[in-house]
């Protein structure tokens, strides 16, 4: 346990001290929140209502957690520092928990910042927001798992492209945050509903609106994806670790 904590502490410091990524990761979703709310206040139709927008932006913000975790792991993997870690008596579980532990509080902090800004923009302060934060935790674990998986497979430059561009866009377009998926419909909507992003947003929206019975049907999708992605990520990471020995 002590080794895991020591390694997790190191990873937290590496993440927190990368100021540019941190500011971008937390700042960019907040800027979007402000921008879209400003647009809403100037258009006659309901496009970006804050109680619908806030969970969407919170989920979108989590895609940056994938970027952080992927970059950290990929950078370690491609640097000489990994040699030192592999030489040390660290086990696979020390590695996996050491990479995962520091990201979860960061992800929760990001969700909290998003809702805190939303309060300023008119979101009603209620216990439901606390429930929404809890409901978004499986989504946070899912995005951490995606980062662990991509960080194990790709170089830091590739992670930048895959997570920084592809994943953030997928999350944005297929989550129903920018527009109602019913407006597009068809195959696009079907694909979106097969992926976890829209379900994470809908679970958050249901929690905020107090429609508790609607939370679980969406949340199961997210939990399912989180478990599967995390499992695959652990397998891939462990395999990558042992392949270094051959």
């Amino acid at each position: 346990m002590m080794k895991t904590i020591a390694f997790a502490t190191r990873n937290s410091k590496e993440l927190v001290r990368d100021k540019l990524s941190l500011i971008f990761g937390i700042g960019f979703p907040v800027i979007l929140l402000l921008l879209l709310t400003a647009i809403q206040s100037n258009v006659p139709v309901e496009l970006f209502v804050i109680d619908q927008l806030a969970p969407g932006i919170a989920v979108f913000g989590l895609s940056f957690i994938s970027l952080f975790s992927g970059l950290l792991i990929a950078k370690d993997r491609t640097s000489s520092f990994i040699l030192r870690l592999f030489i040390s008596p660290l086990t696979s579980s020390n590695f996996i928990f050491g990479y995962t532990f520091p990201l979860l509080p960061m992800a929760i902090l990001q969700i909290i910042v998003c809702f805190a800004v939303s309060f300023v923009l008119g979101l009603t302060v209620s216990i439901n927001v606390l429930l929404a934060i809890i409901v978004l935790i499986p989504a946070a674990i899912l995005f951490i798992g995606i980062g662990l998986l991509f960080g194990s497979l790709f170089t830091d430059k590739q992670v930048g492209s895959v997570c920084g561009a592809l994943l953030t866009n997928l999350t944005a377009w297929l989550s129903g945050t920018w527009f109602d998926l019913d407006l597009v419909g068809g195959l696009f909507k079907k694909i979106a509903e097969l992926l976890p992003f829209v379900h994470a947003v809908e679970a958050g929206r249901a929690a905020i609106s107090g429609d508790y019975s609607a939370v679980l049907p969406h949340l199961w999708w997210v939990i399912g994806y989180a478990v599967v992605v995390m499992y695959i990520a652990i397998i891939v990471f462990t395999k990558k670790m042992s392949s270094n020995n051959n």
């Binding site: 020591a6 190191r10 590496e14 000489s80 520092f81 990994i82 040699l83 030489i87 040390s88 008596p89």
Partner: protein
């Protein structure tokens, strides 16, 4: 007492044999230098002995522990200063050292004590709070070795520890290494022949993955009939057997 004992240690890749039937023993407290031209198999040997790479055939015992069947135990008693600088860039010098101490099972209190000691003995006092990424090459190299020593290994592998250092920094590191002699078993690889002559108790020369000769610098010069160690090294490494 034998600290490192290899038994037909072999590593082969698809099209080539990197290390071929290496049989070698290093005594406890000895500083053994492993020399050879690029591609001779020195780094692969160190990678196998430090459990970074699995041997294709054979085994090695580190203080009686097999690198094949008991790598976790081996990892607890060895450490390596890799050829490449292996530091955590956004951590300070002190934090890097504390991390390594804790990864080897030290609690916070004993880690701090050990870190203070090693910072002092490596002369890192003035840069202890500096981020590792902004250190000069010499300080980084020094930290690289200090991070290997913080775990108090019984066997230490130094893979070209002074590469890229200026003459002053190299001499300073030599004195650090000399100070460890007798307490820690050290296997050193280097391209600087004078470094091996100055530091090592015995020298092994590898050629194309095989250990060609082992002995003191003087013994190797006598064996090859050369007056300088460099000439002896070239004679052995030239692969023509001309010295025999």
């Amino acid at each position: 007492m034998i600290a490192i004992q290899t038994e037909n240690l072999t590593k082969s890749y698809k099209n080539r044999i990197a290390v071929n039937n290496l049989n070698l023993s290093v005594n406890h407290g000895e500083l053994f230098a492993l020399l050879g031209i690029n591609g001779a198999g020195k780094t692969t040997t160190i990678k196998m002995l430090s459990c970074l790479v699995k041997p294709t055939k054979g085994d090695a015992l580190i203080l009686g522990n097999s690198i094949v069947s008991n790598p976790f135990k081996v990892k607890e008693i060895i450490n390596v200063a890799p050829q490449e600088i292996a530091i955590s860039p956004n951590l300070s010098v002190r934090e890097n050292l504390e991390l390594m101490a804790q990864l080897y099972g030290n609690d916070r209190k004993s880690s701090k004590e050990k870190v203070n000691e090693i910072i002092f003995s490596f002369g890192l006092m003035n840069v202890a709070g500096d981020k590792a990424s902004i250190l000069s090459g010499g300080w980084k190299r020094r930290l690289n070795i200090a991070m290997a020593l913080i775990s108090e290994p019984q066997v230490l592998f130094l893979d070209e520890p002074t590469i890229g250092l200026d003459v002053f920094a190299r001499r300073e590191l030599w004195s650090v290494i000399k100070e460890m002699k007798g307490r820690v078993t050290i296997m050193l690889t280097t391209h600087y022949l004078e470094e091996a002559v100055s530091l090592a108790d015995r020298i092994g020369i590898m050629v194309k993955g095989e250990l060609k000769e082992v002995g003191t610098a003087k013994e190797l010069m006598e064996k090859t009939g050369r007056e300088s160690f460099e000439d002896a090294f070239i004679a052995i490494s030239s692969d023509r057997g001309a010295y025999i």
